[in-house]
Amino acid sequence: MIQVEISDRQQLTILEAAGRIDSSNASELGQALSSVIGRGRTHLVLDLAKVDYMSSAGLRELVGALKRLQGNGDLRLAQPSERVLEVMEIAGLDTIFKIFPSIAAAVESY
């Protein structure tokens, strides 16, 4: 089980994920992202501070959401742990996503 808390701040939506994300639960993250995008929210920040593990299944959900947004808004990542950042780098996704050291920096980047 993972938890995803969603909060709207003016034109931004912040999603705070918590848990260890693998192929048994990554779809929960994907569904949260889809539901937010589905109600027309396009400027997203995903807070990964409480995600201390992510397999390729989680990465697939992030890329799927980013593809849905292409050209219309963005999905920006905040506070990934060293381990999560490492898997993003190995997958070559650190150059595809904009990654920030804090929520504030991710919010201000829009």
Binding site: R20, D22, S23, S24, Y53, S56, R60, Q70, I90, A91
Partner: protein, 139 residues
């Protein structure tokens, strides 16, 4: 030390398999980063077996994981009775491909090859056998 566990080929078993490997990694003297590399490699290998190897219903849908600790580090052997599949024959993902044209697959096997120090595949007695070694860091 050599220890084996048999897990049902179900995604709900991933956390227990990772925990087993993490415990054995600790006994093998791996550091925290190396242990997480082993957890990820086992997670990705198991997920592949569940998704591809055991696609069709069968009687023995289990995955056996054996961990061997040694002076070198931790050796992990994953055995399944699913369809023959050599993960090492998969192409390495091309990172220069634009996002829209990327297929979101192949990362798992790429993680295994990148994070583990030695990876070997064999098909023996109708079973897939993936052997991975993670070295203990030299201090």
């Amino acid at each position: 030390m050599r220890e084996s566990r048999v897990f049902a080929a179900e995604r709900a078993e991933l956390a227990a398999a990772r925990e087993f490997v993490a415990q054995m990694g600790t006994l093998a003297g791996l550091d925290a980063a190396a242990i997480q590399h082993c957890e990820l490699a086992v997670d990705e290998a198991m997920s592949n077996i569940i998704e591809h190897g055991y696609r069709s219903p069968g009687s023995d849908q289990s995955i056996e994981i054996t961990c061997i600790t040694s002076d070198e580090g931790l050796t992990i052997i994953i055995i399944d009775s699913g369809e023959a599949f050599n993960p090492l024959s998969n192409p390495i993902p091309n990172y220069l491909t634009p996002l829209a044209e990327r297929t979101e697959g192949g990362w798992g096997i790429h993680f295994i090859r990148t994070l583990m120090d030695k990876v070997q595949y064999a098909r023996r007695d109708g079973q897939n056998q993936l052997t991975m070694l993670k070295h203990r860091a030299l201090h």
